[in-house]
């Protein structure tokens, strides 16, 4: 009896998937499960739903995570190419590279990739041309630098805390060096290859820097309290690349969140589902940014926040 019922269920499943063949399909591959990347994926899904492509109802939605393993990312990319969805969404650089290596024809939209040109996903931002486009999460370091100068006008030396093994942070460092040179600021590096080494990296910069800047670096952000502790002890203001770190003690951040990056990506996916070619859609940078302030930290680290900035902030912790 049960066998017959199982067979019937299996048959129903096959018939159901067959009936859905006409609808659009999106396959999404992500290198690892991580709050920022998960939020990004959610953003894609939500925007698509608003555009009428509801995952599981009017859109065939497939999601795989490589759980940090590159070889698995390659296999996922191949599986998706075999399934031939209408769009492959690839979150983070390694997954995107695996997808681009796997197909030259299926549309690929990447997200949360800092520097798509040096990752060789696209040849240029304006008109990618091939089957690939997407959204970059490159931190707008020039805007961050302007914010830091507004809050600590005397800053001459800026301490950059990061993990040299994280692609995004290295790209940010290069961009920061450019921007800082123009602003007459010297950048001092504090390298922390593991989160347990963040405290030591921050301490090593005491006396050498007038302010700390922590980019969106997974390693350093996961031990952010250590930087805050050094900042308070040595009266060195700490600035962050992501807004969530403000609640954890950074003086300020002009940040974006990955949910918004995902929403931006989702808009691109929807355009392709409606018939546009990925090669005609420019790669977009982060659009929406929020200023968050932490006045308690500012007081502890000796920063005077102008009233005008408090008025501009979307969120103020006191």
């Amino acid at each position: 009896m049960t066998v017959i019922r199982l067979a019937a269920a299996a048959l129903a499943l096959i018939v159901a998937t067959g009936a859905q063949a006409a609808e659009k399909s999106v396959a999404i591959t992500q290198i690892v499960e991580h709050p920022a990347l998960d939020a990004c994926r959610q953003g894609v899904q939500d925007v698509l739903a608003e555009a009428g492509f509801v995952a599981g109802k009017t859109l065939k939605w497939q999601y795989e995570s490589a759980q940090g393993n590159m070889a698995t990312a390659v296999q996922i990319a191949r599986k998706f190419v075999g399934d031939a969805p209408d769009v492959i969404v690839a979150i983070a650089t390694p997954s995107a590279q695996a997808a681009v290596a796997a197909t030259k024809t299926l549309p690929i939209v990447f997200s949360a990739v800092t520097d798509p040109v040096s990752a060789k996903l696209v040849s240029n931002w304006e008109k990618p041309g091939a089957n690939v486009t997407g959204t970059s999460d490159m931190a707008p370091v020039d805007k961050h630098l302007a914010m830091i100068k507004r809050l600590t006008p005397g800053v001459k030396r800026l301490g950059f805390l990061y993990n040299p093994g994280e692609v995004n942070s290295v790209s940010s460092l290069e961009a920061l060096r450019e921007a800082a040179k123009a602003a007459g600021i010297e950048v001092q590096e504090g390298a922390a290859p593991k989160s347990s080494e963040v405290l030591a990296a921050a301490r090593s910069l005491i006396g050498k820097v007038d302010a700390f800047y922590v980019p969106t670096d997974n390693t350093v952000v996961s031990a952010f309290e250590a930087v805050v502790k050094v900042g308070i002890d040595a009266k060195i203001p700490v600035f962050a690349g992501d807004t969530d770190s403000v609640e954890r003690g950074a003086v300020a951040a002009l940040g974006f969140n990955y949910y918004e990056v995902g929403r931006q990506t989702g808009e691109v996916v929807a355009r392709i589902l409606k018939g546009e070619k990925p090669g005609d859609i420019p790669v977009s940078g982060v659009r929406k940014m929020d200023l968050w302030l932490n006045l308690a930290s500012a007081a502890k680290m000796g920063v005077k926040v102008p009233d005008a900035m408090v008025g501009e902030a979307t969120k103020v912790f006191r």
């Binding site: 499943l13 992500q30 499960e33 497939q62 999601y63 795989e64 995570s65 490589a66 759980q67 940090g68 393993n69 590159m70 070889a71 698995t72 990312a73 390659v74 296999q75 996922i76 990319a77 191949r78 599986k79 190419v81 075999g82 399934d83 650089t93 390694p94 590279q97 695996a98 681009v100 290596a101 796997a102 040096s118 990752a119 060789k120 996903l121 040299p164 093994g165 994280e166 692609v167 290295v170 290859p193």
Partner: protein, 306 residues
């Protein structure tokens, strides 16, 4: 599973077959648990990528250079063990963590893209066959050659001395075998194979990334042990065959896990499903004999299944 996904599974499995052969040499032949591979795999990728992208070196030469770099890493671990008398596991961990920094130094940044570059796989484009087929076919030829070379080597006089070193170092020394030399040599060959795999993997997937070594030793060990569970390693020929088979089976397990949605499993369950499938493969031999007897109609009770 679609054909493209299956061919991709073969491709990755064949590349990791080289890792399995390397791990077999260190772990089974020399009895040397070697974590260096987590560093020598990305080392091979890094060296080949830098030479191809940065210096415009011929990809075959770049891949050869990757093997040499891998051999150097293996020598380092073996030297720490035989000369400085550091416990083998610890010696390999030391080399592995040092390689993380060294790889970053070599690459200059954490990720070097190889998409669109001329690689060892580029000549295959001229054949007019789809790369989905041509790359795994070429890798198949390579892995068969590597396997046969390994068989020949382990049955040669040097290879026999190396096997004796691993099997019983004291006895080997008593026979006049320089066990230190064979440990150094074996570890160099083992890590050269792993670095070769890293270089090929980077070139086939389009990038070298400093984090790509994470878990390579686990995959290698799972391939060696899982393969031995399926093919009993009675001879060297069968043992190396088991390594390659194990690597392919491991990748098939991952591919199956990726296709497990229909039973309500999700993306985050991937590692768990893979572990369960590999565990199942390892239990296989103890189940095999009774099943075989049952199939032959032999109804004698020979004790419970183990």
């Amino acid at each position: 599973m679609s054909l493209i996904a299956f061919l991709g599974t073969l491709e990755t499995g064949l590349i990791f077959g080289l890792v399995a052969l390397g791990v077999y040499l260190s772990f089974r032949i020399l009895q040397f648990p070697d974590l260096t591979v987590d560093g020598s795999f990305p080392l091979g990728a890094a060296v080949s990528a830098v030479l191809i992208v940065g210096a415009g070196v011929n990809p075959f030469l770049a891949t050869l250079a990757a093997c040499v770099a891998g051999a150097a890493a293996g020598l380092m671990t073996a030297w720490l063990n035989v000369r400085l008398k550091i416990l083998h596991l610890l010696a390999s961990i030391l080399t592995m963590i040092a390689l993380y920094s060294i790889n970053l130094r070599i690459m200059g940044r954490p990720n070097i893209a190889l998409l669109g570059e001329t690689t060892v796989f580029s000549p295959l484009d001229a054949l007019g066959i789809s790369t989905y087929v041509a790359v795994p076919a070429a890798l198949f030829v390579l892995i068969v050659a590597a396997k046969l070379a390994m068989d020949w080597f382990l049955n040669s006089e040097i290879g026999l001395a190396m096997r004796a070193t691993g099997a019983n170092a004291r006895m080997a020394r008593a026979q006049g075998i320089n066990t230190d030399f064979y440990t150094l040599l074996g570890m160099a060959i083992s890590n050269a194979l792993v670095a070769l795999a890293g270089a090929l993997f980077a070139q086939s997937q389009g990038a070298a990334d400093v984090t790509m070594g994470v878990g390579v030793i686990v995959v290698g060990l799972a391939a060696v042990i899982g393969g031995e569970a399926v093919i009993l390693p009675r001879t060297i020929f069968l043992a190396t065959l088991a390594c390659v088979t194990g690597s392919l089976l491991y990748r098939l397990a991952v591919a199956l896990a990726l296709n497990a949605e229909f039973i309500g499993l999700k993306a985050q369950d991937l590692n768990l499903i893979t572990a369960l499938l590999v565990a199942a493969a390892m239990v296989l031999p103890s189940v095999r004999a009774p099943v075989k007897r049952a199939l032959k109609g032999d109804t004698r009770i020979v004790g419970p299944l183990k």
